[in-house]
C-alpha cells in the first residue's frame, strides 16, 4: 500500500478494492464499502475477475467518488449498528438522515447534480434517492425559469404552446420565490 508520508496509512485489514476515477486517481476501499456500488459489485460478479483488478470508473470524477466513498462507508457502519432493537434502528435511521443532510447541505447545485450522475452511474439506489429528494427541496417553490436554469433546460415551447401551458395551470405560476 502506498504511503504518501503525510499520514501513516491506516491498517486496512481485510480485503480492499481499487477504484479508479476519471482522472486516473485510484481509491483503495474496503470491500464491503465498494460493494455498495452495484456497478462495482457487478464488475466482480463476472467470472474470472480477480479482486486485484482496478475498477475503471470512467464517468466519475475523483471529487464525486471521494464523497460517494465517504457516504457509503458511513452508511455501511450505520447499517451494522441497526438490528432487532427498535431503539437502535431508530437511532441508526436518524443518524443516516443526518449523514444525508450533511452531504447535501454544503453542496453547490453543480455538485449535487454531479453526485446524482455518479450515484446513478455507480448504481447506489439509496444515495440516488435521497439526492433526488434534496434536489426537489432546492427547486421547491421556485419559478419555472429557475427550474430551467437549474437543470439547464431550453424552453422549446413555441410562444403559443407556452401561452397555452401557462393558461392551463395559471394558478401554479403565482407566488413563487423571487429568482
Amino acid at each position: 500500500m502506498a504511503n504518501n508520508g503525510e499520514n501513516p496509512s491506516p491498517d486496512v485489514g481485510g480485503k480492499t478494492v481499487k477504484l479508479k476515477a476519471d482522472d486516473g486517481e485510484i481509491f483503495e476501499v474496503e470491500e464491503a464499502v465498494a460493494m455498495e456500488l452495484q456497478t462495482v459489485k457487478s464488475f466482480f460478479d463476472d467470472d474470472g475477475v480477480s479482486y486485484d483488478t482496478v475498477v475503471p470508473l470512467l464517468n466519475v470524477s475523483s471529487t464525486a467518488l471521494a464523497k460517494v466513498i465517504q457516504y457509503c462507508r458511513r452508511a455501511v457502519e450505520l447499517r451494522a449498528k441497526s438490528g432487532d432493537d427498535e431503539g437502535a434502528n431508530e437511532k441508526a435511521r436518524e443518524e443516516r438522515e443526518g449523514l444525508e443532510a450533511e452531504l447535501v447541505r454544503e453542496e453547490s447545485d453543480e455538485g449535487i447534480k454531479e453526485l446524482i450522475l455518479a450515484a446513478n452511474y455507480l448504481n447506489i439506489k439509496d444515495m440516488l434517492s435521497f439526492l433526488c429528494r434534496a434536489v426537489g427541496d432546492r427547486i421547491k417553490n421556485k419559478s419555472v425559469e429557475y427550474v430551467r436554469r437549474f437543470f439547464v433546460l431550453e424552453n422549446d415551447f413555441s410562444p403559443e404552446e407556452e401561452e397555452r401551458t401557462r393558461n392551463e395551470v395559471a394558478w401554479a405560476f403565482e407566488g413563487v420565490d423571487a429568482d
Binding site: 481509491f27 471529487t63 465517504q70 427547486i139 401551458t165
Partner: protein, 260 residues
C-alpha cells in the same frame, strides 16, 4: 491536480482524513449568473430520466406542475396526473366568492398558501370532495362525473337514473323529473313518488366513496343515496349503479367496514 502529469497516479488509501482534505481543496462553489453563462456548455445536465426521478419525489403538486412546464420533453415524460404519492395532506377547497360562481380557492396546508382558479365545469353544482383529489359534482340532472380541479379532466360515473329505485327521468315535468319507487308510509302506500332535480342535486346522493384513485383502470365507487341511506356500487366502466343489500350502518364507519 496536485501531482505532475507524468507521475503515476498515487494510490491513496481512502481513509476519512485524506478524503476530507481532498474535499476541501476541491470545493465546488455556486455560480453567479455571469459565471453560469460563461460556463453554459460545461454545466452538468442531468438526463431526462434522472430529472424524472426528481419529479417522482416532489411532495408538492405545484412544484410538479412547474417542473412539467419547463420544456416539451418533460411535459410529455411526466404524466399530467402524477402516479406517485404526493403529499397526502389534502388541500382545503373553499367556497367560491359570490361574484364568480366558478372561481374556487384552494388552500395548500403544506405551503400555507391559497390558490385561486376557475373550474367552469362545476357551475351551479353541489360538490363533494375527498375522492383521491377528485371532486364529485352533482347538478341534479342524471349525468354524474368526477372532476379533477387541477386538470379539469372528467371521469364519468353511471347516471343518477340508473339507481334501482329511480324508475325514470323526464326533463319535461318540472319539479317532478324523477319517479322513485318504494313504499313510504307517509305517502299512504303509494308505490311511487316523484322528486325534482333540486332534490336530486341537494339530497339524493349523500356521499360517494372510492376504493382507489379513479385514474386507475379498476376502481369501485360506493354511494349512499336516497331517503333511507341505501347503498349502491359500481366499478369503472359500469353503465349503472348496483344496489347492495346490507344491514344498517353509519356513514362514518362506511369506508372502514366495507372491504373493497
Amino acid at each position: 491536480m496536485e501531482f505532475n502529469d507524468d507521475e503515476a497516479p498515487r494510490v491513496f488509501v481512502a481513509d476519512d482524513s485524506l478524503l476530507q482534505r481532498k474535499l476541501q481543496k476541491r470545493r465546488l462553489t455556486e455560480l453567479t449568473p455571469k459565471e453560469e453563462s460563461q460556463l453554459k456548455g460545461r454545466l452538468s445536465k442531468l438526463p431526462k430520466d434522472l430529472i424524472n426521478e426528481v419529479g417522482k419525489r416532489l411532495i408538492n403538486y405545484v412544484d410538479y406542475v412547474r417542473l412539467r412546464s419547463t420544456c416539451k420533453s418533460l411535459k410529455s415524460m411526466l404524466p399530467n396526473t402524477p402516479n406517485h404519492q404526493l403529499s397526502q395532506v389534502p388541500w382545503l377547497m373553499l367556497p367560491h366568492d359570490n361574484v364568480s360562481k366558478t372561481r374556487f380557492s384552494f388552500l395548500n396546508p403544506l405551503e400555507n398558501k391559497m390558490y385561486n382558479f376557475d373550474i367552469p365545469e362545476v357551475k351551479g353544482m353541489l360538490l363533494q370532495g375527498s375522492l383521491y383529489g377528485w371532486i364529485l359534482a352533482v347538478d341534479g340532472y342524471p349525468e354524474l362525473c368526477l372532476i379533477n380541479p387541477f386538470t379539469r379532466a372528467q371521469i364519468q360515473l353511471p347516471p343518477l337514473d340508473t339507481f334501482l329505485d329511480v324508475l325514470r327521468f323526464d326533463p319535461n315535468v318540472p319539479n317532478k323529473e324523477y319517479l322513485i319507487s318504494g313504499k313510504r308510509s307517509y305517502l299512504h302506500n303509494q308505490k311511487t313518488h316523484a322528486r325534482g332535480v333540486a332534490y336530486f342535486r341537494k339530497v339524493f346522493v349523500r356521499k360517494v366513496v372510492l376504493s382507489t384513485n379513479p385514474t386507475s383502470n379498476e376502481f369501485t365507487a360506493l354511494a349512499i343515496y336516497g331517503e333511507f341511506e341505501e347503498l349502491a356500487f359500481c366499478t369503472s366502466g359500469d353503465k349503472k349503479w348496483t344496489k347492495l343489500k346490507v344491514p344498517r350502518f353509519g356513514e362514518d364507519v362506511l369506508k372502514e367496514n366495507f372491504m373493497f
